[in-house]
């Protein structure tokens, strides 16, 4: 049976959107698939050395369960930190892996991480901002692998 392949394009950097690419990649890798993740735009945040800064916002998140409150209150700077703390605490209580743990599992399982060179340049990021062992590439490089995959996801 030929090895299945999956490509994920990770474009988001919020806490809730950080989970899908890392969970899917680590699971597919555990099932023996060959997996590559192309991190672009806000997805690059997931390649930072520390993931402590990944947050979730109560604003523009109508699906997020929160007690009813006016948008003006949700827009207060402290609300983002509160929402993030509460979400992380809930995840820990329910045994959900941390982003760090999921990323480590991906690395151990040889999931290939590719950082979008264009976005790195756009936001003036440096290689020293990111974890070791990642590649830097553009869309054309990624398309080659993406074209061979069984599953290709845009997250």
């Amino acid at each position: 049976m030929a090895t299945k392949k999956m490509a994920i394009i990770a474009t988001k950097g919020a806490l809730d959107m950080a989970y899908p690419p890392l969970i899917l990649a680590s699971t597919a890798a555990a099932l023996g698939w060959e997996v590559q993740i192309f991190f672009t735009f806000y997805g690059l945040q997931l390649l930072r050395k520390s993931l402590k800064g990944i947050k979730i916002s109560p604003l523009s998140n109508p699906a997020m369960p929160m007690p009813p409150m006016p948008v003006l209150l949700k827009a207060m700077p402290i609300m983002e930190s509160i929402a993030t703390k509460m979400m992380k605490a809930k995840m820990k209580k329910k045994g959900v892996a941390s982003l760090e743990e999921l990323r480590d599992l991906c690395v151990e399982a040889d999931v290939k991480f590719i950082a979008c060179q264009m976005t790195v340049d756009l936001f003036d990021f440096k290689k020293s901002d990111f974890i070791e062992g990642i590649e830097y590439g553009g869309a054309a490089t990624f398309m080659k692998f993406a074209g061979e995959t069984d599953v290709c996801l845009f997250i």
């Binding site: 969970i23 680590s26 099932l31």
Partner: protein, 75 residues
Amino acid sequence: MNFDKEFDASGLACPLPIVKTKNALKDMAPGQVLRVVSTDPGSVCDMAAFAEQTGNTLLEQGAENKKYVFFLKKA
């Protein structure tokens, strides 16, 4: 059922039961049996899918004291 190694995934949520089971199997010899305990209801289907996709055999699965127990034979 006899087993050679045991892994307790109690309290862990998806995808950890599967990903950690894979790691537990890594250092085992072909034919050896791994016993996995999980509290994640999703792991019931996941473990069967894992066995099917990786060629490891799911020998037995059941429930004990509100936990799910799986016996996997390494391919």
